[in-house]
């Protein structure tokens, strides 16, 4: 390689064009550089995607050792599954609740932390800290706090209120899971919003203040439009992330009470690895895939319409 390259640069008029031209060498380098990633995508993403579609056409019970082609029967079973409306409903409630609560809290915190106050950096650190706490550790503590006789009800009782059994009552279980998840990760969106707020030119507020525009109106007419790209971006990340919630459900509620917190990923896990229905589990995986695809495309097209301006 080294000899070839000196030959290339130092001899002005080579008699024969060398095989390893710059373009060829670049092509080789490019392919070699991306080879590990591409081989990984092929093996661990594309092949499994094809396989999961293939599996979804089979009745496959690992324990009974059956693997029979059944065509679209799993999909018929899916449509007739009495649990499906509940599962999709739980997923929708979780995602919607998470996105709304997460984004509004993140925005509120970002606005608060965007002020020039002494010690604001300490607050920023503290609000961000749950992001780096191990997810299961965080969930376990909250599970402990939310027990019938746990810390939260203890505090409520001290105020004379008898709290519910948060994780075992249909009305509060889902709300609890959402709240636990929001406090864990809202710091990420908060930081993104903070960066966006700091990108809003100060002159705009100056001008608005001189014109006597009230604070709230400044926020609605200046801040919100200018940070709308970040709002859309964070909502995409948060929605897609919310569809993958698993550990929180597994640790806090195991999908209960009833199936009120059984989101799609948890249902997929149960059907596949607890009930050994690998074929039907694959069908549920395809459903999850379709939902993620549809949501992502919907949000990207929404981004074009709603967003006030784009950097590029």
């Amino acid at each position: 390689m080294a000899a070839a390259s000196t030959a290339l640069t130092s001899t002005p008029a080579p008699r024969r064009r060398p095989y390893w031209t710059i373009a060829r060498r670049d092509a080789l380098a490019g392919w070699l550089f991306v080879a590990p990633q591409l081989a990984g995508i092929a093996t661990f993403v594309l092949l499994p995607l094809v396989l999961v579609a293939w599996f979804s056409l089979h009745e496959w019970n690992v324990l009974a050792n059956t693997f029979n082609f059944v065509g679209a029967r799993n999909y018929q079973q899916l449509l007739a599954d009495p649990n499906l409306p509940g599962v999709l409903g739980a997923s929708a409630v979780f995602s919607a609740g998470l996105v709304v609560f997460n984004l509004s809290l993140a925005l509120l915190l970002a606005v608060l932390l965007n002020q020039k106050l002494a010690g604001i950096a300490v607050f920023r650190t503290l609000f961000f800290s749950p992001v780096v706490v191990s997810l299961v550790a965080w969930t376990i503590v909250w599970g402990f706090l939310l027990q019938k006789n746990g810390g939260i009800n203890g505090a409520l009782l001290a105020l004379g209120i008898e709290g519910p059994n948060w994780l075992r009552s249909p009305g509060t279980a889902m709300a609890s899971v959402i709240v636990v998840q929001v406090f864990k990760n809202v710091g990420l969106n908060m930081v993104l919003f903070l960066a966006a707020l700091q990108g809003v030119p100060g002159e705009l507020y100056e001008a608005a203040r001189i014109d006597g525009v009230p604070r709230f109106k400044q926020f609605r007419r200046i801040t919100l439009p200018l940070i709308s790209p970040t709002i859309v971006l964070t909502s995409i990340i948060t929605v897609v992330g919310s569809l993958q919630v698993f550990a929180q459900i597994a640790v806090l509620t195991q999908g209960g009470p009833g199936i009120s917190t059984t989101v799609l990923v948890y249902y997929l896990y149960q059907q596949t690895f607890q009930f050994n229905m690998f074929g039907y589990g694959s069908t549920l995986a395809i459903l999850l895939f379709v939902i993620v695809l549809v949501l992502t495309f919907a949000q990207w097209s929404l981004r074009r319409k709603v967003v006030f301006h784009e950097e590029r």
């Binding site: 380098a29 490019g30 550089f33 590990p36 995607l49 191990s134 402990f144 993620v292």
Partner: protein, 306 residues
């Protein structure tokens, strides 16, 4: 702090005495500003409770004897301490081994992902090669496909290879599969924004692509590499679905999975032991975070600004 504040407020009146009306207005403004500031601090302290208190509760409850764990009224500070919970953590499960499992898997995944993603990200940003755009689209597919979609076939794949209940799937899938795609994307965005002149000069000098990458581009990419390292480490450290699917024996467990296994004979959680193990899991990362918070926050924020 309070003193400095009042001094600053007093200063103008001392330097520029008369003009009574204006001074009064300024004084009023200062009072209401101070009140507003107090309100903001108070509001933020209340808002902080759900962010900070769980960690406090985790640490303090982990040294409470089992009888005090649900005591009423709740003990913000343990009245009796019982450090034996920490001994229990190691007695009930091979917790040291599990700690090591999580640590070395996360370390390997982090280093591996940095290598794979910086190479691929550099090539997609800089090198002109046939099929680059199409291949990049293929890689981006990985962003669209949640790990949960492919968990069934991946389980079968590794079962065929005899790698179930080994750490291989937890190492190989994140380094080469979908989780590293995001890292590749971050690296590519960084290299695109990097000025190209230095590298072009090196090319004129006849340096090969790999040398340019290693000697010039990679050292400049430190901030991007740091953010890749941070989110990759946290992702691996927090992984839960994959370990419980692939691993079945206690000495192979990773930490998140081990935490949920501190149970009594009836399957009920041994809260204080579980919380002690959770504390051991969470505290080291928290401490690193407090020391290097700037890198953490900026690193994680970078990745969102795609």
């Amino acid at each position: 702090m309070k003193n400095a504040e009042s001094k600053r407020r007093a200063a103008p009146s001392f330097l520029a005495p008369p003009r009574r009306a204006r001074r009064d207005a300024a004084g009023l403004g200062a009072i209401s500003a101070a009140r507003a500031r107090l309100l903001i601090y108070g509001g933020m302290c209340v808002l902080l409770i759900p962010f900070v208190f769980p960690t406090w509760w985790m640490v303090t409850s982990s040294i409470k004897p089992a009888s005090d764990i649900f005591a009423f009224p709740p003990q913000l500070l343990p009245t009796h301490t019982d450090w034996s919970t920490y001994a229990q953590v190691f007695k009930l499960q091979p917790f040291g081994q599990q700690y090591w499992n999580s640590a070395y898997i996360a370390a390997l995944v982090t280093v591996g992902t940095m290598a794979v993603s910086s190479l691929a990200g550099y090539a997609f940003a800089r090198v002109r090669f046939p099929g680059a755009n199409a291949l990049f689209m293929v890689v981006l597919l990985g962003l669209l496909i949640p790990a949960e979609v492919t968990i069934v076939p991946l389980f079968q794949l590794f079962r065929r290879l005899g790698m179930v209940n080994t750490h291989w799937p937890l190492i190989l899938i994140p380094i080469f599969g979908a989780p590293s795609v995001f890292a590749t994307f971050v690296m590519r965005q960084f290299f695109i924004a990097l000025p190209v002149e230095l590298e072009e000069a090196a090319r004129v000098d006849g340096l090969g692509r790999f040398t340019i990458f290693r000697k010039i581009a990679l050292p400049l990419a430190r901030p991007a590499l740091a953010s890749v390292a941070i989110f990759t480490f946290l992702h691996s450290w927090n992984l839960y679905l994959e370990p419980i699917v692939f691993l079945s024996s206690a000495h192979m467990f990773t930490l998140p999975q081990a935490l949920t296994h501190f149970t009594d004979a009836y399957g009920g959680p041994l809260w204080n032991v579980q919380l002690a193990a959770a504390t051991l899991t969470a505290l080291p990362v928290l401490i690193v975070f407090v020391v290097a918070q700037k890198q953490f926050v900026e690193g994680l924020a970078h990745t969102g600004l795609k």
